[in-house]
């Protein structure tokens, strides 16, 4: 690998930027098809009701209206499936209630899809939707975990007694119990992981079309994983074979997990386009996005840590209740289980870990992955608990962490994972130095002189990314493999198209992957273009989430390039009248070892397509595809340190400094990696200090717009200090681990630990996320009595 100006390791400016900066991006809502109609989705205004009947007559008669469809019209079409089967402690399968795309018989959350009104314009469709007369016979609603598990609670689904979806566990309970019996100290904590609304700035949108000439459906949709949508929509909902269903996810304006799921609207639109024989377009209004994009997190947990007299961790016991919302979204069931419970070893050598998770249906928006997905929840709990343990044992909070670090790799945790590589001391040391940890007390004193309470907080963490080995996840209930495909097409004149099944919606794959390919093949960076987001162009793919694109998708491309080189060697050997074994490839040239006789990649490519003088038995063409199924998860790790100043009068928390020290594996483009870290940190800080989705008891969404759901703004955040200590992943050839979720996983406990540290002099020793000014002020009032 050359490491040149555009190669691996270089901060190459992004290929994507020219079009985005000049307004030439092509997002779903920018696409218009000839003859398209507009579909408006009528949503339930109530959280739980039986539908007595729906009268669509007046709406049908409204100007411009072509059709109104309800659940009854779509009866017989498959429901929206979920992608992961979880088994309970007793071996029983989770409860998997039907999820009709358009509500049938009942609505189960505010925002549930009730009807689609199709008209010549969106305004007409929306106006006509007001005329659809739905007889909602309201039922009691359960809008929280507490309400769902209460005695005599209303039932969200008849199939799910007590509103329970599953009661799952991981780890050795007996061994963990034994660890507690022999412990010198037991430290307990109760934490809530606040419910969040993802809020990618591009609202979801879709356009569906049916071509009667080919019997082919095309759906343009705001998705992180078009092939996954094709699989779910085609095989499970509409019963369409893959070759008759094309999914295009063009430029997508951010995902953060909320554009992973296959949504009801995608099924409704596609089915409607087939019914009408015309393209139908839908763009979600933000106000509807709040109540229809999948939400994230929403856990209530209690946990305890067993320690010996020296502060060594002996055992960890975690009990969590998770809110899944009204229906099971695509990855809903694995987020609070296999993306959560198996993270509880963290970077520590805790020998016995047990985690149980009971999940509930509620009359709220379905909950699914959100940046970090399960791992932020685990990290938050663990790092709050470790912090509390240090305090209760009177130990230094850095030393208690360091004392328990994993140092020998590979390391088999007691909860399934095997860490391949890491150096947690190095990331910790780097963070402490970068944050001037040792100089903090002077800063605290200086702030106190100004009437401000200054605090510092830390979290040390690992992630499991690069999702995921298919055999492993399959044994755990995944209904898909989580490999990735990559194709490399060397064109006759030497330019290159790279096809990836991952999807870029901000991550800069078009640049990063081009760097890998141009570096490996020794061709000009600008001669390489990356194609993604179209099931008709890409062999297959599982998409982008779980910080998997580089480690899994990048590796597939890497392997495809290796195949290209191998084939190129055969062609070059023929041209050079040498043996293929003697051909070396470097810097774009095939050379006979030990000689100066060589052929360029361009010459080889041309030969491959104009095979006048060509090896016998070798296929023409120079294009290779590789599927890569990872051997293990990857394990990025890091230390985050946050410094805050609290105004005790108002409760405002001012973020003074945020320091990230991360091991994300090999870095292809440092500029892009830093950007990913910044974004994740902002998201994690948003969770810790600002963002909170709240429902009223009746299931009405209380935080349903930017007027009352706080998004992090520029002035809420400081500039970040980003530091790297790199170890390479041992099981993929790039050595890559993943970076997209780091910030949102690592930083929330550091923020809250800092806030508590700041407030401890005032008698405050606990804090719930988000630490809003009102909550901080109330905590101070309470502590001061």
């Amino acid at each position: 690998m050359s490491g040149n100006g555009t190669g691996i390791g270089a901060s190459v400016k992004r290929k994507e930027d020219q079009r985005f900066l000049t307004g030439r991006g092509r997002y779903t809502d920018d696409i218009n098809l000839h003859g398209q109609l507009y579909g408006y989705i009528l949503r339930s205004p109530v959280a739980h009701a039986s539908i007595g009947g729906i009268d669509t007559g007046a709406a049908m008669a409204a100007p411009g209206v072509h059709a109104v469809f309800t659940g009854k019209d779509m009866e017989g079409v498959g429901g929206i499936p979920t992608g992961w089967l979880i088994h309970s402690k007793d071996g029983s399968a989770m409860v998997e209630p039907p999820h009709p795309a358009l509500a049938l018989g009942k609505v189960r959350y505010v925002g549930d899809c009730v009807a689609i009104v199709v008209a010549d314009t969106m305004e007409q469709a929306k106006s006509a939707a007001n005329l659809v007369d739905v007889d909602y016979q309201e039922l009691p609603a359960v809008a929280s975990i507490e309400a769902a598990e209460a005695e005599g609670a209303a039932q969200v689904h008849d199939e799910a007694p007590d509103n329970v979806c599953y009661d799952w566990e991981v780890g050795d309970k007996a061994a963990t119990d034994a660890a507690f019996e022999g412990a010198d100290h037991v430290v307990s904590i109760d934490v809530v992981n606040n419910r969040l609304i993802p809020n990618a700035i591009e609202p979801r949108a879709a356009i569906a079309n049916f071509d009667p000439a080919t019997d082919e459906y095309t759906l343009y949709t705001t998705s992180q994983n078009p092939h996954l949508v094709r699989l779910l929509l085609g095989a499970f909902v509409l019963g369409l074979p893959e070759h008759k269903l094309r999914i295009v996810a063009p430029d997508v304006g951010g995902g953060f997990g909320s554009k992973i799921p296959h949504y009801a609207e995608e099924a409704i639109l596609t089915w409607t386009a087939g019914q009408l024989g015309r393209p139908v377009k839908w763009t979600c209004e933000r106000i509807d996005a709040f109540k229809s994009d999948t939400h994230g997190r929403d856990h209530i947990s209690t946990a305890k840590l067993a320690l010996d007299a020296d502060g060594n961790f002996l055992g960890l016991h975690v009990s969590t209740k998770a809110n899944l919302g009204a229906y099971l979204s695509t990855f809903a069931t694995c987020v609070p289980t296999y993306l959560y419970g198996i993270l509880f070893a963290g970077p520590y050598t805790t020998p016995a870990v047990y985690c149980e998770v009971k999940s509930f249906f509620t009359n709220t928006v379905p909950v699914d992955a959100l940046r970090g997905a399960g791992r932020p929840e685990a990290t938050y709990l663990l790092e709050r608990l470790v912090e509390k343990a240090a305090r209760e044992l009177g130990m230094d909070r850095v030393e208690i962490r360091r004392k328990n670090f994993v140092r020998e790799f590979p390391y088999q945790t007691p909860v399934a994972l095997q860490y391949d590589q890491g150096d947690y001391d190095a990331t910790l040391d780097l963070a402490l130095a970068a944050a001037d940890w040792d100089g903090f007390e002077a800063r605290r004193a200086e702030a106190a002189a100004r009437g401000k309470c200054r605090g510092i907080g830390i979290s040390t963490f690992i992630e499991a990314c690069g999702i995921a080995p298919s055999a492993v996840v399959g044994s755990l209930g995944a209904r898909a493999g989580l490999y990735e495909s990559g194709s490399v097409r060397v064109h006759p004149t030497g330019s290159i198209s790279v096809f990836t099944g991952t999807h870029s919606h901000g991550q800069g794959h078009e640049t990063t992957f081009a760097q890998i390919v141009s570096d490996m093949l020794g061709v000009d960076f600008n001669a390489v273009d990356v194609v993604h987001g179209d099931s008709a162009k890409i062999p297959f793919g599982m998409g982008t989430y779980g910080s998997r694109s580089l480690a899994v998708g990048g590796t597939a491309i890497y392997l495809a390039v290796e195949k290209v080189i191998e084939k190129g060697k055969k062609i070059a050997a023929h041209l050079l009248e040498a043996s293929a074994e003697d051909i070396e490839f470097e810097n774009g040239s095939f050379t006979v070892a030990g000689t100066d006789r060589s052929k360029s990649l361009g010459e080889v490519a041309l030969t491959a397509y104009v095979p006048h003088n060509y090896p016998a038995g070798l296929e023409p063409g120079l294009e290779e595809t590789a599927f890569y199924d990872p051997l293990n998860f990857t394990f990025p790790a890091g230390t985050h340190i946050v410094e805050v100043e609290v105004d005790p009068e108002t409760g405002e928390v001012d973020l003074v400094a945020v320091t990230g020290s991360d091991d994300v594996g090999r870095i292809i483009n440092p500029m892009i990696v830093a950007g990913q870290l910044h974004g994740g940190l902002a998201h994690g800080i948003g969770q810790a200090l600002m963002e909170e989705c709240r429902y009223q008891e009746d299931g009405q969404l209380e935080t349903g717009s930017y007027m009352n759901y706080t998004m992090p703004r520029a002035a809420d955040l400081p500039s970040f200090s980003i530091n790297h200590n790199t170890t390479h992943c041992t099981h993929n050839p790039l050595g890559a681990k993943g970076v997209g979720e780091v910030g949102s996983i690592g930083v929330p406990p550091a923020v809250i630990n800092a806030v508590i540290d700041a407030l401890r002099p005032l008698g405050v020793d606990d804090m719930t996320m988000p630490a809003t000014s009102q909550r901080v002020w109330q905590a101070i009032q309470h502590a001061q009595g």
Binding site: G23, R24, G253, A682, H683, A715
Partner: protein, 157 residues
């Protein structure tokens, strides 16, 4: 139905609209200028920011008829041919964009600031961007880009 005429990116453009047609709808749907985005319906995200008579406004909170006769600049009109505007170039140079959706509004908001202040402090940039939400970047690189872009504009024009 009212007819509106305005200068958009230096060209006179006319169209027949409804009274309720928003400026952003006129730009996107009548003129096909889809670089201006809509990210919310409560005038907060700033993805729709354009310049009307030289200052930045939210085109989702402006009627097309209110812009009748105005001089409108959208993201498509900022670059000079193939040459990026200095603020666009600064965003590229400093990786001030990821998914690109907030970018047009962010850039046009930044240009408005730079027109008033060629050397804004980090604090001034962060305060100015209150009306522009970004979910990708954590604003870190946007702030750097705006500062660099403002200086480039001050030095260059």
């Amino acid at each position: 139905m009212p007819t509106v005429t305005m200068t958009v990116n230096g060209m006179e453009r006319s169209g027949t609209v409804e009274g309720r047609t928003l400026l952003v709808e006129f730009l996107r749907e009548h003129l096909g200028l889809t670089g201006t985005h809509v990210g919310c319906d409560t005038s907060q995200c700033g993805a729709c920011v354009v310049h009307v008579n030289g200052t930045s406004v939210k085109s989702c909170t402006c009627l097309a008829v209110q812009a009748d006769g105005a001089d409108v600049t959208t993201i498509e009109g900022l670059a000079n041919g193939a040459d990026l505007h200095p603020m666009q170039e600064a965003f590229r140079e400093h990786h001030g964009l990821q998914c690109g959706f907030c970018t047009p509004g962010m850039v046009l908001s930044a240009v408005d600031l730079a027109n008033q202040n060629s050397d804004p402090s980090e604090h001034e940039v962060r305060e100015w961007l209150e009306g522009n939400l970004c979910r990708c970047t954590g604003y870190h690189n946007i702030v750097k880009a705006v500062q660099a872009g403002a200086q480039a504009m001050g030095g260059g024009s």
